[in-house]
Symmetry: D2
Subunit: 372 residues, 4 copies
């Protein structure tokens, strides 16, 4: 006789509707799938967007939570890590939140740009709670990972809280830093002091930058940046564009930054970022994740005459998650990503967590179902 | 006893003032300099901008003419070509219109972006007629090339008229094509059918593109593009943005072009170009040579989510001129760049030439002082 | 009642043992698979290596034939081309000879080097005749393509014979040319005049090279190179290294070639290729497909002081096959790849075909089962 | 009345002949030149090669000393730093040891590979003591820098001893690291523990490597590597190739290093380095500065099948010296490059210094004329 197991999950029923806890029947685990007992799941800015219905094509009701850590409880047949090692029951793992990348479309197989594959699905964002087999987000006691999901075991020196402290901002920043190809001594300016911006600043420091500046707010986040070695911080709420330009030019021999990384989400950052990069510099735009409208730029002054290189950065693939783990594994003893976590919330407090993130009362919020 | 030689030159006295012919005393040729009897000099869109005073920092009165071909008449000591061969009296040569690049500033020696060297000067654009030793533009019987100017001999198979038919648009297009890194089979869209656009289209075809489209006008230029093998032409004056998008998508499997090269000078081309590139495609912006104001773009849709790469392209260096000559030397028998020349003008007809270029009555106009 | 269909296939029973024709029972087509009636299949140098047992890890008995064209006869469920279009019964297709690339290992998902994926298998080379479901090579009346094999439809302008005329040498050359990143006017030297070398020479011409030279033999192949536009050919059998060095230096301003592509398979080509590249040039090594032993090089003279860039090139992925088809589709009217085919052979004449290829009596041999 | 000033300098009279101190008349300083009172000058492995006559084309007698720090004593007219700031009497400076790079040859102006410019000259190596105006090496009380030499002022936080502690190995390592394009988490193996190897190891750590290993000797140098954070050291004198391979594979998931940097000067390092790099990895060869003969490699196993990328690295340009100073300025407080200096020598003890360097009794030796 088989008993029915019920799983608690926090659900966004529809755009703009408050999250609530629902119970789902735990289905059988099919071949290629695995069952994860969630230890911790991130709350990030995307989740706020999901709550307000700002992303297109999201299938509500939705169990959010795209970056999560859990314990392997069941497997539908043998699974393997990227290095060929078999996955075992009890392993503490995270996973690439993207699955279903087809490997066969023009993006995957000809253009080598798998983050634009039209078949990719993202746990907690583009997979609805009612889509089979269910339990598709990390704000729940259990989650079912679909066939082909890439798992990554947490090494001893990386706690679940450290990984969630990095959150999706860390692999996103790894991607942005990869595109920026920092050379030893380069002067790097970050626009934005959210999780992506702070991680990008830290990774720039670890990549040999000669100077790193951050424009952002609120002051607590800028203090965090200062604490791990950022050379200059500028509070966007308490400075004029002219003052920022003056400060950046003063720190870069009058030329502007070799590399600017936009991680603010504010369209107004774009023309300012173009201006603050030096001629023939690089500008990585990673923060414009949602459509916040148009912004005027001057193509002559901002792009052509500057001989500027601009690179949009969208999504992460497994390499970014893998490298993020390598970074955490090596540098967590020095930088303690866990300290980004301001507060932990149970499943019933998800609404409060969203409110705290939206109002920037916390750097990083984490959902902890009762599994640890 | 030495006689005084007088040289006729067409001069722009001041912004907006009609050009006229002035006579200058031929000065002695100093060490490192050489005297060139001008055979042909280009009239390009930049010259129209100069006439109207649209470029900042131009020292009027000015003898225009930055791309020219001439015969070596005198040398102030031995000079050498890039391959080490000595320059001889009577050689038919052209030259990089930029000189004075310092080799020592941050742009030249650290950032390897010599087209942004603040010390570079451009014959016919940023050197005034009254700056010593004078005769600093090609719309004249003679021109004096300053010490360090890089000369390039015309091989037998490249006539002066072919080189001027290519004009400054050819090395500019070489630079844009270099930045676009076309792969075999790539689909390349050119915005603009002026000299830069037409040359870029032709060079894309020669670089292994699988499909080349051109958006431009007037129809005569689009016909020229068709004649040398362009697959699709779209008349900007007779099509809507929607129709153009539909045509480009239809030719690119619904995705947009792998590479878009902007060579139009119109800010409105920028958001359209972003849209017409495929996700993770490349967009080279080379046409925004003057400041024509701002244009709204959507950083989420146009850059970030597209994972688009945008590269501003400013100026040419000697490598582009050298490669332009290699191209002309090899392919001129097939494509006859001389045919771009619509009309020749003497020094007294310079005003007419500018008017014809401005009103696009000609593809390429050439000034022929009486030296051939 | 179901009748049993028997399929004729040419088989290599073991290393060094003459090929013979065997009959196999046509199995049912499972989900994800498809049945191809072979129209034409290539004989290439690899097949000669297979016959002699020179490749490690080959599972004999083997049905050779990795590049093939066929007609879709059956499908185990719907299949799609890379552009999303459904595959239909009767379509004339080719396919990437590599399948099973896992998408999940370090090579596939972190290092973006899928040609080094340890799980990849190659039809006609690393899949034995007895491996389920069988019919794993193109030298047969029918072939069964495994789940996940990437199909490519032949457009109207590309005949099966043209595709086989290009053979595996064409996508291999596309890969080598991609790595060589030719710029307009570059001088490119090819070592080897087999199918890879000839295709590389042709693709270099189509990519804007300013000069292309080929070192190879026999003379008939060098004549072919000349016929499609190669500037200089040097017969390896009738020239000394000194004479070749002199000829290449004479054609490259004394410096050596900007890019050298090795496609000879002879280790002795390596030090010569290093010497014939200019300082800071590029050297692509694609021909050393089998282990022919060591060769002495001088790391100071050949690599370090030259500031030389050397790139090994192994295998092809779908992008190279896709781009090869784009090239053929566009340029076949000018270059007629079908003309590389010297002779056609039936399944019973496979031994003769191998002998003709080994002794270079033919440029390209093709196996034609009786399906067209 | 003008008095004659005599300058003491250590001179190598001819290959293999012991150095001695000679006196030279201080000549007048011409326009574009400057006079430097030498504070410290490096002794490096190249100087040992010069003593033994192992480099071709060296004009003896020679005053060695290519990396030096000095105080500006006289200037023949105004001079400027790279940022445009004027040079002043009394400034403590170093300089790019290469001058005379022409900016006009194929290497400088077309191929952007100025380290292969045939006109470049190197102080202390390719400029003889008797070449006008003399005083062309740093092992002397004074040195005369030629027109166009690029100066770099030492910031307050970089002592002359720190800069010499870095020596020419530091910019050389900056160049090698630039070519290696390290990504976050990459595993980097260095062959050689001389100044270039140790600096490369340190810069790899500063560039975000996830693991750094060093193969070298003697043990004191490997201890130095350990002390600044290298993960694994292997003593070449006390290990077999098999043991080294095992250790590297064990540290890299069985694959080999993502990046190998050869800085040993031993040809035998080359095939071992190819083997220790992972498939599709990168191999930078920077240590083969002199011709130590041939070495057998297997082009199939070492290059082609590995899909390996090999890059020769020759010489430094100003960007590498500039970035070296940025690195030192930022990280010297953490890593104390001055500690690489084992011993200081006066001009009369130059023979002893060479002997100590040759026999690896010191990591870094420095010549201190009596100027500080």
């Amino acid at each position: 006789m088989k008993s029915t197991v019920m799983v608690n999950a926090a659900v966004l029923p529809a755009p703009g509707v408050k999250p609530l806890v629902r119970q789902y029947v735990l289905p059988p685990i099919n071949e290629g799938e695995c069952l994860l007992a969630i230890v911790a799941s991130e709350v990030c800015g995307t989740d706020v967007h999901l709550y307000h219905g700002r992303l297109a094509g999201v299938p509500y009701p939705l169990i959010p939570g795209h970056v999560s850590v859990g314990r392997i409880e069941q497997m539908g047949g043998p699974l393997y890590y990227v290095d060929g090692k078999p996955v075992s029951i009890g392993d503490i793992v995270t996973f690439l939140d993207v699955y279903g990348t087809c490997g066969k479309c023009m993006y995957c197989s000809v253009w080598k740009a798998s983050t634009r594959c039209p078949h990719r699905k993202v746990y907690g964002i583009t997979v609805g709670a009612e889509e089979q087999p269910g339990l598709s987000g990390g704000w729940a006691e259990y989650m079912i990972l679909r066939r082909g999901t890439q798992l990554l075991q947490l090494p001893a020196e990386v706690s679940p809280a450290s990984w969630i402290g990095g959150g999706c901002g860390l692999p996103t920043a790894v991607h942005a830093i990869e595109l920026s190809q920092i050379k030893l001594g380069d002067r790097v300016l970050i626009q934005g002091s959210g999780p992506v911006g702070l991680n990008a600043a830290l990774l720039a420091l670890l990549s040999g930058a000669g100077w790193v500046g951050v424009i952002g707010s609120p002051n607590t986040r800028l203090q965090a940046a200062k604490s791990f070695g950022v050379d200059l911080t500028l509070d966007i709420a308490e400075s004029t564009p002219e003052a920022r330009a003056k400060a950046v030019r003063s720190a870069t021999g009058g030329h502007g930054a070799d590399i600017v990384i936009e991680a603010s989400g504010n369209p107004a950052a774009i023309p300012e970022g173009c201006s603050l990069a030096r001629d023939n510099g690089k500008y990585i735009i990673v923060g414009q994740y949602t459509d916040n409208g148009d912004i005027p730029i001057n193509p002559h002054l901002h792009i052509n005459r500057k001989h500027l290189s601009i690179q949009g950065c969208w999504g992460s693939d497994f390499s970014h998650v893998y490298r993020a783990m390598e970074v955490l594994s090596r540098f967590n003893r020095n930088y303690n990503w866990e300290s980004f976590i301001s507060k932990r919330y149970s499943l019933v407090d998800v609404a409060l967590a969203l409110d705290d993130v939206e109002n920037r009362r916390v750097v990083k919020a984490v959902i902890s179902p009762s599994n640890d």
